[in-house]
């Protein structure tokens, strides 16, 4: 177990480094000149520009920049923003908690809502409750988040004044954005759970359980659900990876602090160190989440726990 874990960690590390390399290349190839956006073009002289470029090391060949950057990263130095010289690491770190909180809260919402609806929908297959649950799920994945977010603000913040419309401090500010993102996740999870529940419900062991005289509730929730969660957990893992994308929009709509807020600006400005910082963060989150997913497998599914090989 320890050995596999170490192997997993090494593989994860490789993936993280790989994504940094890939993004470095992408950003490097982006057109546009960060130096121009840093200086006032009206008053900047060509020498000033050349100076600054040199100062930032942008005049060096690709591989030198690349090498320098990664040498820095190895020492825990993610560099400074090209735009306003903010050191990247603290910048990312200040934005991470809010994003993590949002991601976590919305995952909780989507898992709870998604699993609940998914199970109900599978148990009452083709009844109205199933149709309703599936429609709710589909609505979740077919509404743009900025649109549902604004709707939630209009209803719960402006009309009812129950929750604040913005900010990232305290739990109250978390509710609406988490709901906005959570609905999307719930939509995916409903489908997933419903499908795997339907599969599981028709497994022969369900008949055994009934034959033992177990109540329907025990059959469904104690046994079927646990089996159905196994494939669902994978989706949840992948979905958390995708959440990063959702946060860009939701954090803007709800004026939350967060990593999503930095990405867009940084890319636009070709602010490589910042973009890399965000990528690093999201890659770590992704890898960590999937590691967690795999570990949670071993809790849900003993078949994984006792067999030595891990699915890759």
């Amino acid at each position: 177990m320890a050995k596999t874990l170490i192997e997993r960690l090494i593989a994860s590390l490789l993936v993280v480094v790989g994504s940094l390399v890939l993004v470095f290349c992408i950003i490097y190839l982006l057109p546009g000149d960060p130096v121009l956006s840093m200086l006032d073009p009206a008053s900047a002289t060509p020498e000033m520009i050349a100076n600054l470029r040199h100062q930032l090391g942008l005049d060096q060949p690709f591989y030198v920049q690349f090498g320098k950057y990664f040498a820095g990263v190895l020492q825990g130095d993610f560099g400074k923003s090209l735009i306003n010289s903010d050191p990247v690491l603290p910048k990312i770190l200040t934005h991470v908690p809010a994003t993590l909180a949002l991601t976590l809260a919305s995952t909780v919402i989507s898992v709870v809502v998604g699993v609940l609806l998914g199970v109900l929908s599978a148990i009452h297959r083709n009844r109205w409750i199933d149709i309703a649950a599936r429609l709710v799920g589909l609505f979740g994945i077919s509404m743009p988040t900025f649109w549902s977010g604004i709707l939630l603000i209009l209803i719960f913040s402006i009309q009812l004044n129950w929750f604040p419309a913005m900010g990232s401090e305290g739990v109250a500010t978390l509710i609406l954005p988490a709901l906005t993102l959570g609905i999307v996740g719930a939509g995916f999870i409903v489908r997933m759970v419903r499908n795997s529940m339907l599969e599981v419900i028709h497994e022969p062991f369900i008949v055994t359980l009934r034959a033992k005289g177990l109540s329907e509730k025990a059959v469904m929730y104690r046994h079927a659900l646990r089996n159905a969660l196994i494939p669902a957990v994978t989706i949840i893992g992948i979905h958390i990876g995708d959440l990063m994308a959702g946060t860009v929009v939701v954090e803007t709509v709800f004026s939350r602090q967060g990593v999503g807020r930095i990405i867009a600006d940084a890319i636009m400005a070709k602010d490589l160190p910042v973009v890399q910082g965000v990528v690093f963060f999201s890659a770590v989150v992704y890898v960590a989440v999937n590691l967690l997913v795999d570990i949670s497998y071993t809790f849900i599914d003993p078949r994984v726990r006792r067999s030595s090989s891990t699915p890759s």
Binding site: L14, V15, V16, G18, S19, L22, V23, I26, I27, L29, L30, P31, G32, R125, N126, R127, W128, I131, L135, L138, F139, I141, S142, M143, P144, T145, F146, W147, I150, L151, L154, H202, I238, G241, D242, M244, A245, V248, V249, T252, I263, A264, I267, M268, K270, V275, V278, V279, S282, A283, Y286, V287, S312
Partner: protein, 298 residues
């Protein structure tokens, strides 16, 4: 030897218990109604995209500047927007680019991802290892970041948006395809074909691929919706495309500021997206049910 059996022994075999028979008649009718409705909606939207002029009462660019922000009713069924354009006509015409973004990016992403996944799963070995690590890496990079980078790099043009969305969809397709191929690869009928002496390449075309792609199609139906949504997200972030005839995502994101004063401007494009995604997904589910090997087997 006489075989006096009815050939249509479709019901034979014990696998039946799991299959479509567990549907009750009445309930089936309800969900079938939904499917029919979905099919009609998709059909209508496709017609809108092909010949919007037949359906829309006005040109989408025509601005009735004296009639801005009119609520639905009267001469404008769905009201007018802040330019005084007819919202219904906009939605009808907007279907074209929306569908284009959806279909093209799904096609591109599906083809690239599907091919990578198929290669990876079928060839295996080091190619699989390399490709899958690459896919892993691609997966760790948030799709929106890729999309943003591409839109930033190549400029906000329709094709670039499609490209951006397609690229970020590639890992998903690749993974699903790979999984499919790997499981089909080991199915007895593939082994059977191998025992006949079919070459690897032929086997792939004849047996593996045709049995592998249907989950991809289901995925694509979801992808169709999400790519329209990503398109609108880019537009929200200010990276959308400005065209004479905006797509639904753009209409929606541009109209959102009017939600409190003229709800109809973005509500109807939003409903169009939702209806379309909903319908396509319903059809996708239906398709999956219809092609479920377990059911064929029944």
């Amino acid at each position: 030897m006489k075989e006096v059996i009815s050939v249509k022994t479709v019901w034979q075999g014990r696998k039946l218990e799991r299959g479509s028979l567990t549907k009750s008649v009445k309930q089936a009718a309800v969900s079938e109604l939904f499917v029919i409705a979905a099919a009609l909606i998709v059909l209508f939207i496709v017609i809108c995209a092909i010949v919007p002029g037949w359906i829309a009462p006005y040109a989408p660019t025509q601005m009735f500047t004296d009639r801005i922000l009119q609520p639905p009713g009267g001469g404008h069924w769905l009201g007018t927007d802040y330019f005084g354009r007819d919202v219904f006509s906009l939605v009808v015409y907007g279907s074209r680019d929306s569908l284009f973004i959806g279909v093209a990016s799904v096609l591109a992403g599906g083809l690239i991802g599907g091919t990578l996944g198929a290669l990876s799963g079928y060839v295996g070995g080091w190619l699989d290892a390399v490709l899958m690590r690459f896919i892993d890496i691609l997966m760790t990079i948030p799709g929106i970041l890729l999309a943003l980078a591409i839109a930033a790099a190549l400029g906000p043009h329709l094709f670039n948006i499609v490209f951006a969305v397609a690229v970020s969809a590639v890992p998903g397709y690749a993974r699903v395809m790979r999984g499919q191929i790997m499981s089909i690869k080991n199915r007895p009928f593939v082994m059977a074909s191998r025992s006949i002496g079919t070459s690897r390449l032929r086997m792939f075309w004849w047996h593996v691929l045709p049995n592998a792609w249907s989950p991809l199609l289901v995925m694509a139906t979801i992808g169709l919706g999400s790519s329209i949504l990503i398109g609108s997200g880019l537009s929200f972030l200010g990276l959308g495309v400005i065209k004479e005839i905006p797509d639904w995502g753009t209409l929606l994101s541009q109209g959102r500021g009017y939600l409190t004063v003229a709800w109809w401007i973005c509500t109807f494009p939003g409903m169009a997206i939702t209806l379309f995604v909903l319908s396509v997904n319903l059809l996708g589910d239906q398709f999956r049910d219809a092609t479920d090997p377990k059911k064929i087997r029944g």
